[in-house]
Structures are given as structure tokens and as C-alpha cells.
Symmetry: C2
Subunit: 458 residues, 2 copies
Amino acid sequence: METRKVYLTEDEMPRQWYNVLADIKMNPPLGPDGKPVSPDKLAPVFPMNLIEQEVSPQRWIDIPEEVLRVLTIWRPTPLVRAYALEKALGTPARIYYKYEGVSPPGSHKPNTSVPQAYYNKVFGIKRLTTETGAGQWGSALAFACSQFGLECKVFMVRISFDQKPYRKSMMQAWGANCVASPSTETKAGRDILAKDPDTPGSLGIAISEAVEAAVTDETGQTRYSLGSVLNHVMLHQTIIGLEAKKQMEKIGEYPDVVIGCAGGGSNFAGLAFPYVYDKFNGKDVAIHPVEPEACPTMTKGPFAYDHGDTAGYTPLLPMYSLGHTFVPPPMHAGGLRYHGMAPTVSQLVTEGILEPKAVSQLATYKAGVLCARTEGVISAPETNHALACVIDEAEKAKEEGKEKVILFNWSGHGLIDLAAYEKYLSGELNDFAMPEREIEEAEKVLEKYPKPQLLKSR
Amino acid sequence: METRKVYLTEDEMPRQWYNVLADIKMNPPLGPDGKPVSPDKLAPVFPMNLIEQEVSPQRWIDIPEEVLRVLTIWRPTPLVRAYALEKALGTPARIYYKYEGVSPPGSHKPNTSVPQAYYNKVFGIKRLTTETGAGQWGSALAFACSQFGLECKVFMVRISFDQKPYRKSMMQAWGANCVASPSTETKAGRDILAKDPDTPGSLGIAISEAVEAAVTDETGQTRYSLGSVLNHVMLHQTIIGLEAKKQMEKIGEYPDVVIGCAGGGSNFAGLAFPYVYDKFNGKDVAIHPVEPEACPTMTKGPFAYDHGDTAGYTPLLPMYSLGHTFVPPPMHAGGLRYHGMAPTVSQLVTEGILEPKAVSQLATYKAGVLCARTEGVISAPETNHALACVIDEAEKAKEEGKEKVILFNWSGHGLIDLAAYEKYLSGELNDFAMPEREIEEAEKVLEKYPKPQLLKSR
């Protein structure tokens, strides 16, 4: 019988993260004055040890023992050969995926929530705040805080809070305090409620509340935590790709194509950056971040300086962006409804190291259903974007008659996000396209900011 | 760093199931005439190859290659050392669990749905019917049928169909046809709807519909599938305990206590029966099936002949039973709301080989929350019964100062059953006790049936 899964033992887990900052040139984040932001400006928001990691030029960074200990709750994750999918597609390609759905909250998110909780803990912080949309990040941070005895406060976008009660219950089971945003607990929330008491909320509002709740705590023992976009988040996620490389090595394989879905960029970067390192060192590997056609940040947006949040509180980051005022259409992959993209991922796209793809919502659910009925796993709506791209690549391999090796990140299961599957199967799901007018709009919004340089890392 | 998880490779998976029927004496199932039912009477309901397995006296039964291939989607499952729970309890006990929540539907159920779908397929069956309450079994059968290209029809108790839309969507994603029961598709359903159009349905009604839909298919290509109670279901689940034994052996451990929650008995038997075999061969091990105080089949019910279903369609089975007319209180562990108990488990209880325990609903959620915040995994409400018993045993070990080894079955995760956690945490959850009057009632219901003999296997 052929072997389906490649495991690592806990002893074989990587002991260091890979920091892509050591290998690329980056435009600095800018303050409101248009000048580079010095790291200490962020001290009220993040603990100093994480800020140091955010700007560290060191290529390999040790994973603390206490972090590894918690990661072993679900790591190392399996590398799986997708035999059944290959057979269904009749492709000569060999398809492998790294399965991150085995974590307690069901996605790759705790790969960074655990070290973030740890670094806050050792810095003396007692309480973390964050925002969450669909709830994946909020539950991952709740889980991590419960492991390190930190309090956790999650501002959850009201419409999700009302529509997705399971995610809220999950956070509560792990001891977190989850409130609907806008809330009456912050000035930002109260101001918005005064104007619009029935607002469904937004991620932008929730970020404002979470940051305010952190910086206004007079004891100084509260900080804010972010689940994507930032350099240290990408760093923590590289354990995915570093494990995958070890696993592929065990069976004598190396990927021709590496694929991951990308919203803020973290699960994609987690798998891809260790292969970016190889690419810098001469390996021939195609790397595709996959985004929704309805939120085509990398494939249609300009590379520009923009705020990471809707309200414009964050520094200006050099990234592909549809403009921080852009409201993505109500597609079901909530984790990919983000106007921007991690600066590190963006930089690598400008250099042609990464080749982004965009897929339609219907194509993603078609891929998700095929994979559920072959590989057996019901995928998160976000991961379905990776699946759609994998199927495209496998079909291309079939046309070309090539024995291509495809590796992708199965970033999470979809057991708590099933509503859209039902809509898709009953023919009620729509596609959304991004109108050209919106792109022009984005460019107009971004016009007033400085332009990032086009840098060449190698 | 201490090792948390013990893995097996796919090559190390057991190649045979353990059949406890080879080692115990059983009262036969009886027909309406009070005489033993001959196996062929069941042929319209189950395929002949599964009926043969149901009555086989063979101790070790080969697992077909095609079944093993599908099981590797998630098996072997990890054996985990519960260091964090041990630490929180300050117990000298070493606690291990077998984690079955990694399967695609999230529980141990596909260990039997996969072989059942396989045997039906090779027997030439095209379509399976079943009933489901909370949805764990229906989704496990939907998953298995999708792997073998069988049609799957699930009759889901209406109240769950309406309250738990995620389970229904899961079945649909795997291609199953799930309808609310009572439905208009069967005579049984139509009769009930005519009398009571607003009925919330019941497992008893759903069984009647599923059996009717199977036996009335004139093509002869439909059969019915059951997820617990029967001998062949227990057989298929023994892969859990057989894996656990290999894993414990790797680290030089052997359990003093083996624990599993028990509703129909299948996840419990899956872990426990291989240790029952050891016990028959001289090993000293305490084995506890754990049930709810609100449905205390083994701890308070009589050992009697009773029907497996509410309507009284099934043969009379020798088992602990609260009477097939007993309606368990509306506690949240839906999988344990069953009036009877697997005949094999029941027989072993009568002989004192198994020592059942009962726990209260509040104790189970207290245990579930402690484990979520230490081990990190949010448990299914059913598994919480095992957790409560484990904590009792670990605390006993602490009082006695004994280095006891405890092994239990973590039968599933609770990610789709979170509502009750929220109620528990906000103090809105109640305990239910089984009133003495109900026991007397049960005895009255069972009076009219023949009495099983008290047999001694060894």
C-alpha cells in the first residue's frame, strides 16, 4: 500500500524560523510625516521583543523551547500526498499538501499566536487585545493566551459575532473575553455607535477598538496582537515550509510549484518563504500566492504606500493595495477580504520572485467540493483558493504531459464555515469581479502618499 | 523537551481487527416469537458479508486493503501524553489519550462507516440509508460513501436538522442527501406527519424511515447502515485500541486504567476491547465505560432483552436498557442519549470485566473546560464524560500517592457542538438526574420480554 502521509517526529521539528528580511531589500514603513518610523514608536502597541523581531536582519531566529512545547500540541503537521485528487484529475503531476487544519482552532493561525503570546508573557504583559472578523484569528489568540495564562480580549465584527456564534463560544471556552464591535468599551466604539447604533461593524473599526484598548490601559500591561501582514507574523509561520522541506527530503522530492492562498499573506509566506530562500540560492521553483478575483490586491492593485487599517491609524506600509478605503465584496472567504498584502510578500512580487494568481469564487468552491469528495477533507473557504490554483496547475501538467511536483498549503478545515458550501451546491453562490473603476479609485486614494522605490534584492 | 505525541507510521497500522465474540459467551438476539433470529433474516437490511461479520466467532479479522487505504486519510491517530492536564491536577498519574478528533468529520465514527461502505460496495449495493441525531454519524457515513462512490441518504431528526445546519452542510459537501425526519418520503414519516405536522422528530422515527427506505427499494441495491451497538461496529472500532497498544509499547507503558465514554458503546469498545482481551489473558487492568447520570443505562438499568430502537422494529437484544420507550432528558451530549448499550459491552459489564461509571452534566463541562485550557483541545460533549472520569481517577491517584497510568479515548472534537460550552460558562447549564420512578418504569416495560441468561465467558 502506498504511503499517504509523511510525518516528522517532534525531535525533527525545526528549531529556528527563517527570516526573509535577511535576504530582501525593503522600503521602510513611514509615519504621518512621511519619514521612516523608528521601532520604539510602536512600543505602546507591541512588546519590545516582538518589535525587535519585526525589524531583525538575522536570517535564522531560534524558536524558544516554551513555544516549541506548545506547538507540539498539533505540530509537526502531516505532509500528505493527494493521490485521490491526482487520480480524479488524471494528471501526471504529483500533488502534496501541508495540512494545517489539525491545530486546535483548525488553521495555521496559532503558529504565530503562540509565539506572540509567549513573547508578551516574558516581556511582562498580562493581557492581549485583538480584532477578529470571521473568528479564525481571535480563536487562535484565545487558545495561545490560555496556554500562557494571559488575559485575552477580542473585538469581533458585530455581523460575524451575530452570525457565527460557534467562533465566539470557542474563544470563551479558551477563556477569552469576546465582545461585538463596535462596543461601548472604547471611545472609538462609542463614537461610531452614537452615529450609527445599528452598524454591522467592520474589521477597520475592530482594529481601532483593539489598539485603543491596548494603548489606553494605564497599568501598561496590555498590548495589541495582529495575526497577519507584519514581518514577525510571516517569520513565525515559516515553520510550515521548513517542516515541509524536511518531509519532502525524506521521500526524495522537491517541488516545481509552491502554492498558497493569500489574504494578508501569512499562511502563504509560511509555506513559501523557505522556498524563496532556495530560489535566491539558485533553485528553480515557481511560487504562486493566490487571491480572489474579487479582491485582486497583487494582480490588479498598485504597489504603493498605504495604511494597513481602514481608519488610517497604522504607519504607511509599502505594499500592493486596493486602497485602505476599499470594501471587498461579501464573498465567503472572509480571511482574504483585505485591501493590502504583507510588505514582504509584496516586495517579492515586485521583483518577480513570486507570481500571483487570482481565481473566482465559483472556481474555489468547485475545487473545494472536488477535494472534499476525493481527499476527504472539507477545506476552509480561504484554502479553496489554493485548491483552485493547484487544479489549474495539475491540468496544465496533464496537457503538457509533465510529471510536475506541486506543493501547497492546506491552511485550514472548513467545519465552522460550511454555509457557503450549501449555497454553492444549491446553485445560489455568485461570482464577484472587481470593476476597473475600483482600481482607478484605489489609485486615486493612494495618490497622496509617497511612492515606494522599486528595489532589487539580488 | 519531553515528547508529547507517539505516532505510528501507516506501515505500522494494525492489519486485523479484534473480534471480542471469540472470547465471550452471548445471549442470542431474539425475534418477535422469542426465538433466536437467524442471520439471513437480516438480509434485506444489511449486506450478507456484514451479517457474517456480525456473527463471526473468528478472533482476528483481516482489514481489507481498500479500507486501510481510506483510513490513512487520518489514521494512525496520535497517542498523546496529557502533560498539561497532569500538571494542572498535580497528580502523579501519567495520563495518555488516543485522539480520534483528527478524522475529517471530527470523531471516531468513520472507523466503521468506511468498512461498512466498503463491504456494501463489494456486495454490489449502490445506496446506503441511515439516521442521524446530532449529525456525527450521518456525516461520517456521508464521508465514507463519497470515498467509495455510493449514494447516501440521511434522515436527520428535524430538531437537529433545524438547529445544526453545519452538520447538514457537511453531509451535502460530501454528496449525501440529507432530509429532515419525519419526511414525506416514507410511509412511516407520512403517518407521523399526518398525526403531528409540527413534531420535532426523534431518533426512533428516523431509524424507522431509514430502514423502510432501504428495504422498500425494489432494485434491491439499497441497504441500511448503523453507527453503533452492533457487533461488527465494535469490531471495526478496535483499530483504536490496537493502535494504542502498539503506541504504548513503543514507550514502555501499559495502562492501569482504561476509560471511554459510552452511549451505544462503539468508541468505548474500540479502545477497550483489545484490553479486555489482555484481561482475559491475565493482565490486571481496570476498564471503565462512562455514561451520563441522566441516562444511566449500565449503572442503573436492568440487564434485559429489549429492542434497539424506539419503535420496536429491531430484534430483541440482550443488553442493559432503560426501556426502548425511555426518552432521555435534553442534555447536550446527544451521542449518549440512548436507552440501551451494545450487547457485547453489556455482557462484559454483567461479568464484572468492565466497571461502568456515571457522571453529571456539569462535571463533564467542568472537565471539558479544564482540558481545553490545559491540553488545548475543545472536546466533544460526549468525550467530556470520559474526561470527568479521568480527572476523578487522577485525583484518586494523587490521594493515594500512586503513579497510575491512565489511558482514555478522546473520541472527538467539539468544534461543531459549542453551544453548551457557552451555556456552561455563563452558568445556565443544568444537571439532570434520573429519577427512581423512571427505573421502575423501565423494568415494567421490559417485564414482558424473555430474560437473558447470566453467562460466564471464562
